[in-house]
């Protein structure tokens, strides 16, 4: 058995985004966990889970109170980078219904500033926490644009061209000697499940039957590594 890691395959500088085609539409998956549709100047993010820390704190588990600020900072950075016309949040934007009330003033102001800068679309889904009425931005249960439909939770019926969130897919990658785990996009040629964007949102393994129920046994993932994205067929993961 050979043991040395192979010499590096040229340290590629780009790779912070990966192109993919979904139902004939060209998209760009970003290392941050956002998805960009260049033709429509649309930036999609999912599962922000704002105020997750304070939600647990309320139940007697004082997780660090910094998650909302971190998530919004990342969100602002990615919006600034792509400068899209439209930003779409694919649901579970707040961790729970009480989230908006617990949100600090500075965080709220930062969020409103972002919303004001773009055409902002909240996908709310069936059973997602309700957004406060005074929060700007359009709300809609689901949205179809061209060949793609956007909803929070994947449809139970087979569909073509669907982008959803909800499951927070994560994967474990087996390298020759160790395992790395992290968030990922999970997709086939028809459907895509977005990774969670929120700072404290963990993942659900892509082997889980909930994800298999949507994508079947054969699909690919885009693994969000420390510095770049990697593409793997899911059934080759461990």
């Amino acid at each position: 058995m050979t043991v040395d890691p192979v010499p590096r395959i040229g340290q590629s500088s780009a790779m912070t985004s990966e192109p993919l085609i979904l139902n004939g539409v060209s998209l760009l998956a970003d290392l941050s966990g956002a998805l960009y549709w260049p033709d429509r100047s649309l930036l999609i993010i999912s599962d922000l889970h704002l105020e997750k820390g304070s939600s647990f704190a309320e139940k007697g588990i004082p997780l660090p109170p910094y998650d909302t600020a971190v998530t919004l900072k990342r969100l602002a950075a990615i919006c600034g980078q792509y400068n899209p016309q439209t930003v779409m949040c694919l649901g579970d934007s707040f961790h729970d219904t009480g989230g908006p009330d617990r949100m600090g003033k500075a965080d709220r102001a930062a969020l409103e500033q972002l919303i004001a800068a773009y055409d902002w679309l909240w996908i709310t889904g069936n059973h997602d926490p309700e957004l406060p009425e005074d929060l700007p931005g359009r709300r809609i249960m689901e949205e179809t644009i061209g060949a793609l439909t956007f909803r929070h939770e994947a449809s139970r019926e087979p569909v073509r061209g669907e982008i959803s969130g909800h499951y927070h897919p994560s994967a474990r990658v087996r390298t020759r000697q160790r395992y790395l785990s992290g968030r990922c996009f999970a997709y086939d040629s028809d459907r895509l499940i977005m990774p969670a964007f929120g700072a404290l949102t963990g993942g659900l393994t892509v082997h889980d039957k909930a994800i298999r129920a949507v994508l079947g046994p054969h699909f690919d993932i885009l693994f969000l590594g420390p510095k770049r994205i990697y593409r793997f067929p899911a059934d080759r993961l461990c």
């Binding site: 890691p5 910094y66 990697y230």
Partner: protein
């Protein structure tokens, strides 16, 4: 638990007639130390008994309680016995029943552990037995109930068994805080510590002292006397003597022969994998069909109990065991101990040897079987140390802050407390004797609301102040959550292993399972198994076919290599006068090293650099133990990358670290690589992403009460609702690097898996004392570590390199066959 060997006839007049008659009736004599312990009790002193195993320690601990209880009927809890092992508590209970019944003493004794039925536990709180045998965790739980003052009000004696095994770790720290609490609830209770021979008796005395310090004059020290010096020798097996590896399988025939020649043999190994492999190998050649059993921490508890029971009845000829049998009940029948592989520490060796022949007047017999050349040196060093009775072991260190957090919450669950008073109380526990008020307050703030600099959680406090200044828990939910999570043992997440449609075999760590694909075979519970898959949280297996397992081993249970033994090994390498006493292959090996390179000097660091197969190898003889070497490897590869030396990977053993790369490091590069400023920014940067640090943080967060334990049956379903300790670590680290939990994490990292303290000591010691040898090929001393490559985990430089490699592998594999179709590239 008693000994009938001839001793100088001690004076039994101090004993009541019932007890004298009982001893005489059995033709037994109390040991002098048993009577000394009794005197200490009568003088109202705390007592520390240090004695080798088999010295009648248990009766020494209980004698005064039994006498007191026999003299006047006593209502309530009189004596609390605390053991690190549930099984030991159960066993001691059985042993205690004998004198109680035979002398018809009016004494009730019961156990209380995690296995005790709920109804019985409830009853014990209302009406406790005279003697309660329990564990540190069960004590912490008892102390968190509002009726704790009532339960412990009349407590007279606290017996702590195997004190040496508890004191130096977090379980002992939690227990020390519990003892401080008990001292408030029952000021008259005496403390009795029972310990094996240790290197640091003063630390144990401080632990037992009600002031938390030595020199209080309230602790009587009693010595159980030394056992007769053990007969220990090294045996080199007849098979080809290996250069590397740790299994010792080459000597299996010799081991079998020894088992055949003894009545009952304990075969100690160092890892669970080694236990499995050796057990298999023994049964392959077990022509006489001797009853040989297997015992290690991953096996199902009932299976372990079964082995122990058959052993007690004398039904076994040998048990292959890991440290799972280091502690525990005495088996009088064991007349031989075999240690396969290096013993890693002199105290551990002494303790293992002591498991044979519990008669004080006869020497214990032990055989050490080194698994490779380096281990011969380590075995010899350990034998010398045992002969000279120089011991080692972990010195109890400053109490961990996560443990303190847990204790503060537990105290609050029992009732309102005043922070000033609790601070004073906590400082009477030895591990916390020097705790500063600022640290105490920081921990208290963490318990109250997380203690973050961003103070937004005022509304979500777990403790609230009452008008009288006392703090109390806000609701019973907080108390319930505390009780579900009590204790400091944070197990790696494990999965049950079960035969398909068959019986439960034991548990393995999750990470091992993640490395398996259906059809893989591995050794577990003494048999070859085929991995079928994971169903829910159960690993399904079927009987394996074939001879050899495809997946060689699983980790777990590696023992730390002590500094003391390391020093002795270095001294042996330096001084060639004693080499002729070593086995011939080892002496030849060392001579060859002398000729081809140099020997590492005791107070210097030898670094060899040589080319091999198109790469350059750097081998450093640090002798700082595997954990410190792993950390060093991570840091060195970072530096080599920065220096443009293109490191590719490294491998570490207890003695040596080897790094290989594409460019040859020059002598002046090497000195710079080992500069101690490595522990500054490099360490900080590494800590940000190290999985070891993240694992350490997770444990700290669980103990401190930030993250709840994963309870069986509470696993996530479909939707992810839990949170991830790694993400919390990242967020906290970037926003509040000095948060109390991160400080606790760093303190843990100083010892344990990353062993940064030992690494720091090493770097300080070798500054400007590095000998660099450029060789034209591998040196004899470097051969063992190079052979480890491929068997051991190899660490690459950067994370992304590994990913690229994995991806390249996968794509190559995928594009070879029909996978190409599904790859949207």
């Amino acid at each position: 638990m008693l000994d009938k060997t001839a001793q100088p006839r001690p004076d039994m007049t101090g004993l009541p007639k019932t007890f004298r008659d009982w001893f005489s009736g059995k033709n037994w004599q109390p040991h002098p130390h048993q009577l000394e312990m009794l005197e200490a009790a009568q003088a109202g002193k705390h007592a520390l008994l240090i004695a080798p195993t088999g010295g009648g320690k248990t009766l020494a601990g209980f004698l005064s309680s039994l006498i007191e209880l026999s003299e006047a009927p006593f209502d309530g809890l009189h004596t609390l016995y605390i053991s690190p092992l549930k099984a030991l508590a159960v066993d001691i209970h059985r042993n205690l029943t004998l004198p109680i019944e035979e002398m018809a003493l009016p004494v009730t004794a019961e156990t209380r552990t995690g296995d005790t039925p709920q109804a019985k536990k409830q009853r014990q709180r209302g009406s406790p037995p005279n003697i309660l045998l329990t564990t540190p965790e069960s004590l912490a739980l008892l102390l968190s109930y509002t009726d704790a003052p009532k339960i412990f009000r009349r407590l007279r004696t606290i017996v702590i068994d195997e004190l040496h095994a508890l004191a130096p770790n977090k379980r002992g720290e939690l227990l020390s805080l519990g003892l401080a609490r008990l001292a408030k609830l029952a000021p008259d209770a005496r403390r009795v510590g029972l310990s094996a021979t240790v290197a640091y008796p003063d630390a144990l005395e401080a632990y037992l002292s009600p002031t938390g310090r030595t020199g209080s004059g309230t602790v009587a020290r009693v010595s159980g006397g030394g056992a007769v010096a053990a007969e220990v020798k090294i045996l080199i097996g007849r098979g080809h003597f290996p250069w590397s590896g740790h299994m010792g399988s080459y000597a299996v025939e010799d081991i079998y022969e020894q088992i055949c020649g003894a009545a009952t043999t304990l075969v100690f190994v160092n890892t669970r994998a080694q236990a499995e492999i050796l057990f298999q190998a023994l049964w392959k050649i077990n022509e006489q069909n001797l009853p040989i059993a297997l015992h290690h921490g991953s096996l199902a508890a009932e299976q372990r109990r079964k082995v122990e029971a058959i052993m007690s009845q004398g039904g076994l000829r040998a048990v292959v065991a890991t440290s799972s049998l280091d502690l525990g009940i005495d088996w009088a029948a064991v007349d031989l101990v075999i240690q396969v592989g290096a013993p890693k520490g002199s105290s551990r060796l002494l303790q293992r040897i002591g498991r044979a022949n519990h008669r004080l007047d006869q020497p214990s017999r032990a055989i050490l079987i080194p698994a490779n050349r380096f281990e011969v040196l380590e075995c010899q060093a350990a034998i010398d140390a045992v002969k000279e009775m120089t011991l080692d072991g972990e010195l109890p260190s400053e109490g961990a802050l996560d443990v303190l957090a847990q204790h503060i919450l537990g105290t609050a669950c029992a009732g309102p407390f005043h922070p000033d008073q609790l601070y004073e109380e906590v400082r009477t526990a030895a591990p916390y004797a020097d705790l500063g008020r600022e640290d105490f307050d920081a921990v208290l703030r963490f318990v109250t609301d997380g203690g973050y600099a961003l103070r937004t959680y005022d509304r979500f406090r777990r403790l609230r102040p009452k008008p009288d200044g006392l703090l109390t828990v806000v609701n019973q939910r907080v108390a319930r959550s505390y009780r579900m999570n009590v204790g400091t043992i944070v197990e790696a997440i494990t999965l049950k292993v079960r035969m398909r449609r068959g019986r439960f075999l034991g548990e393995v760590e999750e990470y091992f399972v993640q490395g398996l694909t259906p059809g893989d075979t591995f050794l577990f519970a003494g048999q070859l198994l085929t991995f079928e898959g994971v169903r829910e949280t159960v690993v399904e297996v079927s009987p394996g076919k074939g001879e050899e397992p495809e997946i060689p081993a699983y980790m777990g249970g590696r023992l730390p290599f002590t500094t003391h033994l390391s020093d002795r090994v270095r001294a042996m390498l330096e001084d060639d006068r004693n080499w002729p006493t070593l086995p011939a292959p080892v002496e030849d090996w060392l001579r060859m090293q002398q000729w081809r390179s140099v020997m590492p000097k005791r107070d210097r660091l030898l670094v060899e650099v040589f080319p091999r197969g198109g790469k350059f190898y750097l081998v450093a003889y640090c002798f700082a133990g595997r954990n410190a070497h792993q950390t060093l490897g991570m840091l060195l590869t970072r530096r080599m990358e920065r220096a443009g030396l293109d490191p590719l990977g490294f491998v570490a053993s207890d003695y040596v670290i080897a790094i290989w790369g594409l460019k040859e490091p020059r002598a002046e590069d090497v000195a710079g690589l080992f500069d101690q400023d490595m522990l500054g920014d490099d360490l900080e940067e590494w800590m940000a992403e190290s999985t070891l640090l993240k694992r350490t943080f997770r444990n700290v967060a669980v103990i401190a009460g930030l993250i709840e334990r994963k309870l069986p049956g509470h696993e996530k379903t479909g939707r992810q609702v839990t949170f991830n300790a790694d993400l919390i670590y990242d967020v906290l680290r970037s926003h509040e690097p000095d948060h109390i939990l991160l400080r606790a994490t760093r303190a843990d990292a100083a010892r344990g898996l990353t062993d940064i303290r030992r690494l720091a000591d090493l770097l300080v010691q070798v500054q400007s004392k590095i000998d660099v040898r450029h060789l034209d090929r591998v040196s004899p001393l470097a051969v063992p570590i190079l052979l480890e490559i491929g068997k051991e985990q190899v660490h690459g430089g950067a994370l992304d390199t590994l990913l690229e490699e994995a991806e390249a592998d996968l794509i190559a594999e995928a594009t070879r066959g029909n996978m190409q179709a599904s790859l949207p590239i």
